[in-house]
């Protein structure tokens, strides 16, 4: 068998293996040797894909489903009564209204997203196994919280490669600290892990208009590109020598691949991060106006630019939705910061003809209890909550599944996180049962031994 390791090792001269293989975006996806040499080369899906790319809007902290996308009239009726697990039921402080031709019920927390209702497929019967943040976050990303496993984005990239090998195929925009495992590749090759962009650099916050610099160290202050390529060839030849001496050291393989990627990123990234060429109307669509929507608006705009550039999987995190207290003010503030940007993103993708092949996913690690916690808060609720998808291959103005009358548990068509993963992979043209990776003698998959595709939401 011709392994990645062999490929990395044998190509010992010149431009490194990727250039040698003839930059992957031009290479035929069916060219087996090119694929085996370049782990990022596009690969044929298992069946025709409905979506080519994913933007995952990760709502960290657990936004309340009963205050956003899961309308519960009975909760209003029973306000103040004792909930089935104790505590007093709390009606939503926000009004729900029907929107679009599909008549989806959406609360006033998301007035702008509501205008895009006819693009949305609500999944109102989500379930996961973890009642606490770190565990639920990890399960949402990797399918399990017990072990360190590859992230959804890493699996997607492993299955499909990427269309632009000058950019990471999986980008995580400003992830919270200490969450690398959620966008990591685990036992998959390191090149499939998410690359963090933004977050941390104080520079970006001071120089609000100079977003091009928010990828630190993107330019060498001294060397010409040719000189740097020569340097890189030396580095890689030393790395390949080491790979030849060692056996099965995934770390060294990862270093080799990440240098090639980093080298090419230098050309592409600054231009991509520089949003100064965007029109006023685009900026205002995303709410990039120096106000409360500015920060998340910029992230969403970057997500669109990455999609255009061919990045396979982009994750954007927005938090913190964990309102055990001050639900009415803090949920309002969180929603205000992201409502317009998200709506702008959907609209912009639509206008550019990108929405039909871009799958936009919105969701948190769980929802919140219908019963109050304190006077103005809700606790974690992992047995029933809502996520939605839009664009690539899903129905619009559609709602799938339901929770009980108050919103505690999914009772109609429950969609476990494994089903959710299976569906996302399906939309990307991947059969979750066939997308396997052999590690230590066993075939692993994202959905373990579970997962059913939610066929009803497919367009």
């Amino acid at each position: 068998m011709f392994s990645r390791r062999d490929a990395l090792q044998q190509l010992s001269a010149g431009f490194g293996y990727l250039a040698f293989a003839g930059i992957s975006s031009q290479a035929s996806a069916k060219d087996e040797s090119a694929v085996s040499k370049n782990p990022l080369a596009p690969k044929e899906p298992h069946f025709p894909a409905r979506a080519k790319r994913v933007i995952f809007l990760c709502m960290q902290g657990g936004p309340s489903h009963v205050d956003t996308f899961d309308y519960k009239p009975q909760l209003i009726t029973d306000h103040g009564k004792r909930g089935k697990y104790g505590g007093q039921l709390l009606k939503s402080p926000w009004q729900f209204r029907q929107h679009g031709e599909g008549g989806l019920w959406i609360s006033d927390l998301f007035p702008n997203v509501a205008k895009q209702a006819d693009h949305l497929s609500l999944i109102r019967s989500m379930q996961c196994d973890q009642p606490v943040h770190p565990g639920a976050m990890t399960q949402m990303h990797t399918g399990t919280a017990q072990f360190i496993r590859p992230s959804l984005g890493a699996w997607t990239l492993y299955g499909l490669g990427t269309e632009n090998d000058s950019l990471p195929g999986f980008i995580s925009l400003s992830p919270p600290p200490g969450t690398a495992r959620n966008y990591g590749s685990s036992f998959l090759p390191a090149i499939y892990s998410g690359t963090k962009v933004g977050g941390g650099a104080g520079a970006a916050r001071i120089m609000q208009n100079d977003s091009g610099r928010s990828v630190p160290d993107i330019k060498n202050p001294r060397l010409t590109p040719a000189q740097q390529r020569a340097q890189l060839d030396l580095i890689q030849s030393l790395n390949r020598d080491k790979l030849g001496r060692d056996d099965h050291q995934p770390g060294v393989e990862g270093v080799i691949e990440s240098y090639e990627l980093a080298f090419r990123m230098q050309d592409v990234m600054p231009e991509l991060m520089d949003t100064s060429g965007e029109s006023e109307s685009t900026l205002s669509m995303y709410g990039i106006d120096g106000g409360t929507t500015d920060g998340f608006g910029k992230q969403c705009l970057l997500a669109r630019r990455f999609v255009e550039a061919g990045v396979r999987f982009i994750e954007v995190t927005h938090g913190n939705w964990d309102q055990h207290v001050r639900l009415s003010t803090d949920h309002q503030a969180r929603a205000e910061a992201c409502d317009k940007p998200i709506a702008g993103l959907l609209q912009d993708l639509q206008q550019r003809g990108l929405l039909k092949e871009t799958l936009v996913i919105w969701g948190g690690e769980f929802g919140r209890t219908p019963a109050a916690q304190g006077p103005d808060g809700r606790n974690h609720n992992n047995k029933g909550y809502t996520t939605w998808m839009a664009g690539g291959g899903v129905k619009g103005g559609f709602s799938y599944g339901a929770t009980d009358e108050h919103g505690y548990e999914s009772v109609e068509n429950p969609c476990h996180i494994h089903d959710w993963h299976a569906t996302i992979l399906h939309l990307m043209g991947l059969n979750h049962k066939k997308l396997t990776y052999q590690y230590a003698g066993r075939d692993f998959r994202l959905t373990d031994v579970h997962g059913d595709v939610v066929k009803d939401i497919l367009a």
Binding site: Y85, G87, P131, P168, P177, G178, A180, R181, G184, A190, S193, T195, G200, A201, G202, A203, R205, I206, M207, D210, V215, P216, D217, I218, K219, N220, P221, R222, L223, Q227, Q228, A230, Q231, D233, L234, I235, S237, L238, D241, K242, D246, D247, H248, Q249, G251, G254, V255, I256, S258, Y259, L261, A262, F263, Q266, Q373, G374, P375, N379, A440, G441
Partner: protein
Amino acid sequence: MNGWRYLALIVAVAGFSIDVPAAENLTSDQLQFFESKIRPVLIAECYGCHSDEGGNVRGGLRLDTKQFTLLGGSSGPAVVPGEPDESLMLSAIKHDDFVMPPKRKLSDAQIDDFRRWIEMGAPDPRESQVATVQSSITGDDIREARESFWAYRMPQPTSPPSVNDDLWPKTEIDRFILDKLQQSGLSIADDAEPDKIVRRLCFDLVGLPPTPEQVQSFRRQWEIDSDRAIGVFVDRLLESKQFGERWGRHWLDVVRYGESTGSQVNMTFPHAWRYRDFVIDSFNDDKPFDRFIQQQIAGDLIPAKSDEQWTENLIATTFLAIGPKNLNEQNRIQFAADLVDEQIDAVTRVFLGTSVACARCHDHKFDPIPQSDYYAMAGLFSNATTYFGNPPSEYGNFSEVQANRTSSLMVLPVDDPNPFDRQYASVELARLKTELSDKIREQRQSGPQGNANQASRIRLNNEIADLSAKVAVVDGAGRPRSYCMGVQEQSTPSDATFLVRGEIDLPGPKIPRGLPKVLTDSASPIANDSSGRLELARWIGSDQNSLTARVMVNRIWQHMLGRAIVTSTDNFGSTGQSPSHPELLDHLAVRFVESGWSVKDLIREIANSHVYRISSSFNDDNFQVDPDNALVWRANQRRLDAEAIRDAMLSASGQLKFERPRGSEVAKAGYVRVRGGFLGDPREAIQRMVSTAQARSRQPFRFGTRNRDSMMSDVYDRMSNALDMNDATYRSVYLPVVRDELPRSLDVFDFADPSAVIGTREESNTANQSLYMMNNPFVIAQSQAMARRIANAYERPTERIDAAFVLAFGRTPSHHERTAAAKFLSTFSIGAGQPEAFAVFCQSLFATAEFRYLD
């Protein structure tokens, strides 16, 4: 069956019941009396310091609900219905035992009203919910867990198993390892080459690469007697000052060491560095680990023989004060509860690998820790005051806008001020004070809704806060006082109140102070007149619990072998991982205690074991059985951590300053708010820099010119990268650790999040790391320095190449590598010149996988 493990869902919400008595039982006369005579006085005179709304619970007393009034504060019930003489409240307003309200006495008529009210049974319509504690974790569950779950049973001394190979084991550790491997039919790797072993030892023990001299002499010794070579070399490393810098940093990961509060209002901790140095010194002194623990939990309560000892003990308690904080919190009671919660969480996870803080809002979902255990521990901490801010000045307590919560500092009994706190001449000090009082007057005159616009009000407020902070830290003669962060006990200990769902407005009964029941079989050893924190410290810092020694030896094993015996290093509970070598873990724990809790002895023993020196070579048969290498059939290839990578570059370049810098960058900045990655107000600093630059250029400042743009961009660059500390050449452990604003050299290589207890760092492999190695100014500067260093020492090109390899990798190059390097240098020199070519070559070595991996 371990039934208690599966309690999770049943327990979820059923842990309490709420009983709301009806207010209708009061007669209308009683109600009338309360509303007209009692409530108005309570609101006007008492709520300010004793209510949730006022945000104050002085003495643990709230008077804003009936239940709290009856419950009372730290001195006992405020009101005993029908018993005026038993009611502390009455004696307080009469100014008998207490003097309340403190500034003026109520009128005789008012006092008489309170007496009558208490006599009539203290009728009070201000009902609040009262909970009774009902745990679904029973005594039997706890007993069963103590008996059945490995981590709650005491470590058992085990004699090392006999193995059918008497030659291979060099220490007892080796017998445990070999035994497991043989049971699983796995073979063990051969020994690594001496070059690799010496590199391993140096990075593991002192966090630095071996010097060329060390490599050479170790190899010589190795050829004579390999065991002795290791033994002698290890002893020498353990004695070096760099040992504490390496192992102290491991500890700082675990104790969430940071030099600012983090979150939205990110205020600095200018005295945190004292704790950092205390930790480093403790590891260098091989301070018995039990004592080290006791100092950190209760240093303020441990008897001290000298001022120096007392100083050290106080600094040790910085551990409790250093956690992340949300100064923006409006509610003082909530803030106090969160502070104690953070302390409980840190103490139990750091030392016991147990998460008691999970039981704040409900019984622990997975471990047999009822919610009442949490509040039993809360009482141990809530009797202390935590100091983490800056002292008030003689003019009062001022803080930055949005910093709603403030705190003072502790004064040390020795004269050892923060090295950057400056001394003021008397004229200067007087001027500062005048300026401060002028501004305070200006603020008073403009009033809260005064004419001044909001921006200028905020500016004035912050200027006052800054001035006050400056004036506060010097004595009357302008000499800086010596401060540290930490905790100190309040006078009278009291129990903590059980809070339903952890909510401050859902109080339950008082819970007697005590230790988690699953971890101790003796009754609570805490005396009435003691907070219990010292008892806690002595119990954790001892072999009287099943966890402390195991948790620490497991941490040490992890840092030496690259993989822990219990891989969930901060979680030894039922959701954690089981030990790969339970007998070895117990053996090490027992030995650790027997050695007098000597960290150095344990490290020495591991370093001298045979398993420590095996190679990392691959074996497919073994891999199929044990892909994670849990049984240690080969050495784990490990990526160096961020500090070791940076220090290794400085070491190779010869630029590394071994002396410890006094204080830290944060100490230099003083007590300020961190904004946009900058210590202080970036706008002010920009103005300062611009005016300096203007003065330098002697050019009139013109708007809209290219000059201005490039100057501003330069200013931005310097400001936004200030905390990267690219010019610093001391060891990485001394770089500033400002929460949410880590230096890039640390952040890019998975430095531990300083806001969390991190026993095991992540180990990522990313394009960002490649960009850092290719383009970062610090990396480039060190490459150039290394090139100069080599050029000064060697003439011939091959000598230079060899020297570079030895400095970077601790080995000479292979023939092929030497040829490749020579070819690169000759080609590259054509355009760039020879010195630049060699610098680029040195940088290439830094950038390789070999440089950052330990085989």
